[in-house]
């Protein structure tokens, strides 16, 4: 596993597009130390690799809906919560300057 350092945590947070202050990164570092100790408890389970990862609570099929048009949002509804709108589009800073 990748070693957890303050630098790695900051890089990880920035990849997720947010930042924290130094004290918060330190708290997170300590939280990881506890989590790793707790994860060691899972490592102690003898037959942990005897099963596949479980992704849903019980065997179930994903029900795909029929391919027919359902409810759709109006333009007004779609843009209702956006802060900057121009020409019926959400406005962002220019990508190409």
């Amino acid at each position: 596993m990748k070693e957890v350092t303050l630098e790695l945590l900051k890089q990880c947070a920035n990849n997720l597009l947010f930042d924290m202050d130094q004290e918060q990164y330190q708290t997170l570092l300590e939280e990881f130390a506890t989590l790793f100790k707790q994860m060691e408890l899972i490592g102690k389970i003898e037959d942990i690799d005897s099963v596949t990862p479980l992704t849903f609570p019980y065997p179930c099929q994903s029900y795909l809906r029929e391919d027919i048009e359902g409810e759709t949002l109006t333009l007004e509804e779609t843009l209702k919560n956006a802060k900057e709108v121009e020409d019926n589009q959400i406005k962002l800073p220019k990508v190409v300057l």
């Binding site: 997170l28 989590l35 994860m39 849903f56 809906r65 949002l73 990508v95």
Partner: protein
């Protein structure tokens, strides 16, 4: 005269006899909500509630929910009503559609009074991390003991008899554990039985929509109204609807119930243990076969880290859309990345950020095997073992918490102790396997209530309510609220 300390069934009788009207109930609920001292509300929808309640004239005899006021956790979408998830990043978000559970309750002519506080984005179990601050336990005038979370406002509202029921969501124990601190019935269904369309996703493989009531019968009434296949929810169950009132009063004679010895051993509080043992005696006296059995402790110890890793990993991905662009307060920036970075840095609290980083780290290619996939394997082993138990037993029965009074500050320090890992976190078993799971009050500790939990096989929600009803009848802790207990 106060009406809202009554159950849904009692209110329905009064509405039928025209002794009270939906408008009177809505007015009383709104007045109480406005004076709420526990910080349980994000929004009170006074105008909409009074208008809708005024339109309800003739009580529908066969609709037990007609005219009943309720509140809803603020991570469930309500059309044209602010829905914040108690997060700054959604502080001005107004959904353009109703969640399926809201649509169903509107069809039943229930009256929405307000939206309730939660731990931010439903990630947390203390009721302290929402953007409006701590939500308090109505049973605690000193405001030092928690109501729990994440469905803190929904729990506090029903415990304070502002409304007779509320909607919540449950990813680890977020309805069933606060229900204990509030002395309520708290229920999450079999995964897929109640539609999650319109619920803000936290960890979809674990998320459930459920509710709080003050009686088991009220809960069965609500489940009848809320269950059902919804094509808008890809995990919705087909062909599993039941009349949950039909067998409610059939008793527990011959029902096989087990208690995990390791959970009992992880609790030291004598009041909790005495009340729990008494409740076992009561179940036995009514003909239930209750056995104390052993469950592998290494699997119980694995519940909390399994939950943390899976839920944080799913949450990291699910909340990537909270970027300040399509909705939410927009941060400054010269590029869209800067806009997102500033929006998310300001919009999320520290706890949420920490959880996202844990989730992201668990999903790193080089960490997946030892963290995310290992947690999913642990989940599989736990579910396999619980399913083995369900081959012999109908119900797993356990205390919900290690003590009735859990301080907001200075909780359990040792995060590797059995009290923390097992007594305080075992209810997540219900989410791992998608089992129907119901908490109900079994005792009081010096003015503070506490619950026990009944968990059954998937699809057998009706049986869980049946056992809950019998237990409620023998113990008498029905329709608890601060008005009844504290007075």
């Amino acid at each position: 005269m106060s009406y809202l300390d009554k159950t849904i069934v009692e209110l329905h009788e009064l509405l039928l006899k025209k002794e009270v009207t939906p408008l009177l109930l809505a007015k009383e609920a709104i007045e109480k909500a406005k004076k709420d001292p526990n910080n349980a509300f994000e929004t009170i929808v006074e105008k909409e509630a009074l208008e809708f309640a005024s339109s309800l004239k003739e009580c529908e005899e066969d609709n037990l929910l007609w005219g009943i006021p309720f509140v809803c956790k603020d991570n469930i979408s309500t059309k044209d009503i602010l829905t914040t998830a108690s997060s700054e990043i959604l502080k001005d978000y107004v959904p353009v559609f109703d969640a399926e559970v809201i649509r169903k309750l509107k069809d039943k002519k229930c009256v929405l009074i307000g939206k309730t506080t939660l731990d931010e984005l439903a990630m947390g179990g203390t009721g302290t991390t929402g953007h409006k601050g701590v939500t308090y336990n109505p049973y605690d005038p000193s405001k030092t003991c928690m109501i729990g979370g994440s469905s803190c406002g929904s729990c506090a509202s029903v415990a304070a008899s502002i409304v007779p029921f509320s909607l919540g969501s449950d990813t680890g124990d977020s309805i069933r554990k606060p229900a204990s601190y509030g002395g309520l019935v708290g229920y999450k269904p079999t995964w897929g039985k109640i539609s999650r369309y319109g619920l803000f996703p936290f960890a979809p493989s674990l998320d459930h929509v459920g509710f709080f009531t003050r009686s088991i019968e009220d809960g069965a009434i609500l489940l009848n109204a809320l269950q059902g296949y919804d094509p808008k929810d890809g995990s919705s169950l087909k062909d599993h609807d039941e009349d949950n009132l039909k067998n409610l009063k059939n008793g527990v004679n011959g029902i096989k119930i087990c208690v995990f010895k390791e959970i009992i051993d992880s609790i030291n509080d004598k009041v909790i243990l005495d009340a729990f043992n008494k409740s076992i005696d009561n179940l036995r006296s009514k003909g239930a076969n209750v056995n104390i059995i052993s469950f592998p402790k290494e699997l119980l110890n694995a519940i909390y880290p399994t939950y943390m890793v899976i839920s944080c990993a799913e949450a990291t991905s699910n909340n990537a859309n909270l970027d300040g662009i399509k909705f939410g307060p927009r941060g400054e920036g010269n590029t869209y990345q800067e806009v997102m970075m500033n929006s998310r840095t300001k919009g999320f609290s520290e706890l949420i950020k920490r959880r996202f980083v844990i989730g992201s780290y668990s999903l790193f290619k080089e960490n997946q095997e030892e963290l995310f996939l290992r947690a999913q394997k642990a989940r599989h082993l736990i579910v396999n073992k619980v399913n083995e138990v369900f081959e012999k037993y109908d119900i797993i029965y356990s205390p919900c918490v290690s003590k009735a009074r859990n301080p907001i500050k200075g909780g359990i320090d040792d995060k590797l102790s059995s009290t923390y890992l097992i007594a305080e976190n075992h209810l997540a078993i219900g989410n791992f396997g998608g089992y129907p799971s119901l908490s109900l009050p079994i005792g009081m500790d010096d003015g503070f209530p506490f619950d026990a939990n009944l968990t059954g096989r998937v699809f057998e929600d009706s049986l869980v309510f049946q056992v809950g009803y019998a237990l409620e009848e023998t113990l008498g802790y029905k329709n608890l609220s601060i008005e009844k207990v504290v007075k």
